[in-house]
Point group: C4
Chain length 480, copies 4
């Protein structure tokens, strides 16, 4: 990380990120409080006022703070830590104006300046400016989406809190999608809350209270508790959002009808968006299960179609299942996508010690081993599966990394046990070096990991250095 | 399978699995009965009490049994059959506490201890602890999802029972997804049932019965039959879940409104989840049909674009359709994903006898045949399709496994029939061995299966052993 | 096609298929009439009775006919035309019993036997046996789904009729999916119709008419017109299916509530199924558009990222767009999936005449041309795009099939026009044969189709026959 | 572009396209006004009449204009600019008749001819002919869908206007889908508007006003303002479309019930279509994010499974993230899909100057450089990642395009810094040319772009020209 000027904070600073995450909590409060205070005006000037002022203070601090935070230049990808440039960029931006406008406690200032409360609606609407703060949430989610590791912890945390709002997924894969679904859920709840509050405001300001959606049910609704009003509002908003539409509460006058039209239009989009995302997540999270089941079904079909004996079928099944358990295909793909140098150092790290222990490579030059190891890959074999088949053409030989295998030979019609091999032992090297059909069958005893070296590749590497070739031959002769 | 200590049961034991499956049925009863008894208290202390006690007894037995079941250690993948370890693991777990708490018949014990019935609600809520038992269901489904073979039978069984709740799918492929969809359906029904019962409980305990959702319709609902109450509850719950929302039954007081808000929020997720899963299954189960139709359409487009003659178009179509019928692509993929040794033994099993019967390989060494067979693949050809075209470059030759082909030659502008070949006969071998353009056209008479041997591969195998080469040439000369 | 015994019809017979398609129309009538007659009993014994009898007669004829239709044996894939076997198979099957039971006009027979009308409900329910006939529809659709060509015409026909029930799709690709969506739509309508009729039946047979869903609105509904009753039933059924649920008509008594519960449960599945299928079709039919747009966007991004000059960008764009227009990738895939012999004959058909006209191949042996042509593929080039670049390594040469190209050379810093080539002219052959950097740039004037012959492939084919090699060289020398 | 006859406009003419886009705005007005005027007849003959006449005039102009617009012949792909042919084609088409019929202001003509207003409904229905104009919209969208560049600007414009009707997507990828979703939204709004107006018309013409859906709520609805009637209509239409179905407004008589049945049936399809499209867009637009997250997760899994050290894991992660940032895979795919000549000229443009600057290629013939450059690809490496590993087999060497790398050697157990390389410097060339294991490790200091030249490819190109080979060797010797 770079050295910044004094009194300048890097945007990636951990403490600054924590501060921003803390602000997001305050944003959530603001988003909830603004429409609520519009609808229930007495709260705005009463119990919630001090809370609002404190929250506003925190955002004011953040505005000041922003003048001390370096920013990333989009074209040069460098952090700019010049005070002047930071200030110019922020102030010349619309954001600064909006940040200030959404932070000023207009009502409080008016009260202080004029010495009395304003009766009009203007301050309620000015408070809606605080919705501007929601941009922070979308910024947070954009950051989280890119940061895989962080999102993991965040997700677990959200999961614990919001569990009751969410359907438990049956597949464990989907844990990482909670964040995403939750953000949709939160947006939905915010829209419901805002719509409910505004609908109540419409009723509270209609000239004939009895001719409003709530007044036709509860005629004295203005003098009843805030709790009752809020419950009715939320009940209506959710009955409409979910399209249940009981009809006990519904638009009574033209203004309400027009508002409902827009609310319902918005809801179609929201519902379609929710279903689309849910489908997307389900499709994505069940993909692996489907691929696995398909593979196994194909193996079973193949076996039954060709009437393969039970033993062969079991070997095929065991192998297919193991492949999905060890995610072999995935691992190979990871390696293939990396540049050669990284691939080499991974292979050195994983296989060098095993290869050095193999009897055939004793006293061989370090160069050869490095070159031999650099493109190696490990394979898993399930128990009781053949690695080498007697009389097969020798195209590769194997070094055992872990597990155990049996060496068998088929003589006079019966299989005879010859020996047992363990870690760092080799199999099939005789066939490869002397270029004769494999003399033995090699079968795993339990889950084994082997390194495969192809005939072709081996030859290519040994040929240039005749000395190493001699060492290998002498090792082999000694062994036999 | 491993030998376990005395009095210890393996978790994979068939009898133990049957016992667990039986418990799942009891779990279903518990899940249904707990909210039902909460809502309709007289049942809980009346007719259902003995049933509850018997079910509790079974679960008590299971708790005891768990102390005798070995478990799989997650790190070593070994079964632990030590009595002490099993007990420690189970007792130190939250599960044990929950299992016991959900099994104790509190109401019955209270009755026995105090000698009289408790009037309060506490026991109804304590009974809800039995929902804990549902974990067994999710365990069962996790197991089923992984076990392809078992799930098949289970699915058929569920299908027969639950058919009426399910839409019959048009594609036969989807049979294996019934389990999954059913589990969602069951969860939905359970939520509906629980919500309905709890809604009734809310009404039954509200101070003004006439001001409740059911009381405003049926004022004496408390003294009416359980059947009526349950029907009303379920009717309301489903009218709301499906978002029909007639409005004849709806929340009348604030408490009911709050409950409905949460119920409806839960329903959005549920509906989206149901639609998402249905879409996923449909997308997956129609994929094969779409791929087939696309392939055929592409062939038709290609033919019409290039104005190919009718005969060629028919051959192309026949071949494409056959490929999907025999699932050739799938079979090849299955083989490719297997390790070499298994692939070899499958090929030996399938093709060795056919290759040995071919005249050209008479008296040839066994080694050569094994090596030749080890990478063979079979292909299907539809009737009236050319396998070899006269004058073509000879890149491979064929051995017929089944079916029949005609050998034709094109002379003086007309096609002349030469001979007919059957199983184990060869085609194209003269072109390959003498390296001359194919002298004949070979065309299938009916559905035929052939083995293809490539020129290159054949040469590579025969060259090292000059003896086998001589045998083959002499076989060929004899044949001609 | 095979020769069948006398008086035996092949199941693929065109006339028999037409008859079956005609029966499907009658099935549609039956499916509509059965629940309708149950609900409105006076119709069943009145105006619709003769129609029912005629329809029943047709199905009776079909039962007799089935004894004369050969069937396909599932294991041998052969048509069985033995009278006895056909009869045994049909009669021993449950289908025969159901076919007969669903065809017998019980009411009419009862009337004839007893001489008077029965007042009970039993015949209405017996008529529901006719739903059995719906199996024919699913059989028809299974057949249509597999038969790509037939489905096309059928689709257009359905489209004209059912257009009003269907949303016009914007993409032309989706025409082939109408059949499928329509079948779902039809099933939905049938369920709605059946549910509506049964709901009316419930009301008509309830002891207190005023306490039914329709009686509470129209108290004299039993004596009103069938039209009114049917409209109310369908209105209720659709208001519930679509989950609009106005609530003006809703369940009044327990029986109706229970019926609605099952109807609504069924509807959730139906809706999810409908949405799932619609999504599937949309995903499938927009796939090609998405792939095309993505490709073009990638080209644009690549160009802007690397700041390529305008001309290069235009060439890239033109090429990408042309590729999608000519569906080049699809065509190549079609060819790759076919066996070698078919591929060869297609290539001979398409390119042989062009290759024979190329000056370099004059007087060359027919064998060489056949072998050369057999693996050829055509490529399209948009106007003003370079095919060959001056000084490039010669890896392939080209024969023009259609279109026109300019030969240019870059000398003293300016491009100079040398000559113009047309159909059957060659480009790049000098570079390839003398193995020197391409001496000219070749650029298309308008949309051109070329055949590409690779250096490597050409050498391989010409080398064995020295005579042809000489002819080619002499042709070339003569040309220069 | 081609030269057309005088007074003939090309269909691609920019001014003509602008005119057509302007007409689409008028079409939108027509589509809105036609059903509105049917429902509220007094508007049709009042305030909207002059607007209608002006709009009609514009469409009349367009009819005349069409006679002067060339058209594209579908078979020859040529523009036809012959006056006669254009006229014949247009007039003989149904379109001409419909265009004229939808443009004639019947009501106005009748008024002028007869001198008085017509009281009947016939003109309202005749106005519905204007819906024919909607074909222009679908034509516009078809064009936009194909034209990627234009759609971009159009999209931004629509986005600004229609933002309030649309849910803001969280992913920036989806910007290009707005057009599409908007078109669906617009169709939905049009259906809602038309249905609402027609429903009002039904009520206004029913014999008993009190027995209509609106009359039962507002008994004097006919004499009330148009605003009230329109609000009620739209409110009903949207309450029904969204399936909220409060039930305050619902069908009262049979006619209205039948209309609602069809409206609701249409809505199911519309909703399913909307959800399907939304799902499709979401699946498509989140695909890239999912692929990226999956890749990163796989890398993390691989690292933790094989217990790789932290440093290696960081290198792997950095490389994977960079690959997605630079869209490397996409760029390679773009190049692969292009024909060789275009690929070559791109490579010349991008890399030639860098290669010429490399010390090893000084004074080398231009031909060699062109050939060397023609298949080059650039790769990005993140900071602190190994490009070459000491002792590795030399399979390729590198030229730096930008960035900086360190050359390191591992001696006596510690890494020693040797030198620093910048743009146009080479790495690994010594190993490749002398065919010895790489003598140094090369590691990036910051984001670097390199060109990779493979050993094999380099040899192949240099071998034929011994002169260039000598120059390269002497350059190398001089450098060392």
């Amino acid at each position: 990380y770079l050295q910044l000027k004094k009194h300048i904070i890097a945007p990636y600073d951990r403490r600054y990120r924590l501060w921003q995450t803390f602000l997001v909590v305050l944003v959530a409060y603001s988003a909830w409080a603004s429409p609520f205070e519009l609808a229930f005006k007495k709260v705005a000037t009463g119990s919630l006022m001090p809370v609002d002022l404190i929250v506003d203070a925190f955002f004011a601090i953040d505005i000041v703070l922003t003048f001390f935070v370096a920013y990333l230049d989009k074209s040069t990808y460098l952090l700019v830590d010049d005070h002047k440039k930071i200030a110019t960029r922020y102030v010349s931006n619309l954001w600064f104006f909006m940040d200030v406008a959404s932070t000023l406690p207009f009502q409080f200032l008016y009260q202080i300046v004029t010495g009395r409360m304003h009766k009009g609606e203007v301050f309620g609407f000015l408070n809606l400016l605080r919705f501007w703060r929601l941009r922070r949430v979308s910024e947070l989610f954009t950051r989280l989406e890119k940061d895989t590791r962080f999102s993991y912890f965040w997700t677990r945390y959200i999961k614990l809190i919001c569990y009751e709002f969410l359907l438990p997924f049956p597949t464990s894969d989907s844990e990482k999608h909670y964040t995403y679904l939750n953000s949709i859920k939160m947006v939905t709840l915010l829209i419901v809350h805002t719509a409910g509050c505004f609908y109540f405001w419409l009723a509270a300001h209609y000239k004939v209270p009895d001719n409003t959606w709530i007044g036709s049910q509860v005629s004295d609704f203005k003098s009843r508790s805030i709790w009752l009003g809020y419950t009715y509002s939320m009940y209506w908003a959710i009955v409409t959002l979910t399209t249940v539409g009981y009809g006990d509460l519904h638009a009574e006058n033209t203004g309400e009808k027009v508002f409902e039209i827009f609310y319902m239009l918005c809801n179609i989009g929201l519902t379609a968006y929710l279903i689309g995302n849910m489908t997307n997540l389900i499709v994505h999270s069940t993909m692996r299960t489907f691929i696995m089941r398909d593979s196994i079904n194909k193996v079973l079909q193949f076996a039954s179609k060709n009437r393969l004996p039970e033993g062969m079928r079991e070997q095929m099944l065991a192998h297919t299942q193991l492949k999905f358990k060890t995610a072999e295909l995935q691992q190979e793909q990871v390696l293939e996508d990396l540049p050669k140098a990284i691939r080499s150092s991974i292979a050195q790290h994983l296989f060098r010690s095993t290869v050095e222990k193999a009897y055939i490579f004793k006293n061989v030059s370090e160069d050869l081993i490095i070159q031999l190891v650099s493109e190696m890959k490990a394979e898993y074999y399930p128990p009781k599966v053949d690695i080498i088949l007697q009389n097969e053409i020798p195209t590769e030989f194997y070094i055992l990394v872990s597990g155990a295998v049996d060496v068998l030979t088929y003589k006079n019609g019966t299989e005879q046990f010859l020996s047992k091999l363990g870690a760092a032992d080799m199999a099939g090297e005789i066939g490869v070096i002397f270029n004769i059909p494999q003399p033995f069958t090699v079968r795993t005893k339990r889950l084994s990991q082997v390194i495969r070296i192809s005939h072709h590749h081996f030859k290519q590497l040994v040929q240039p250095s005749s000395e190493d070739g001699m060492t290998i031959i002498s090792n082999l002769v000694q062994y036999l």
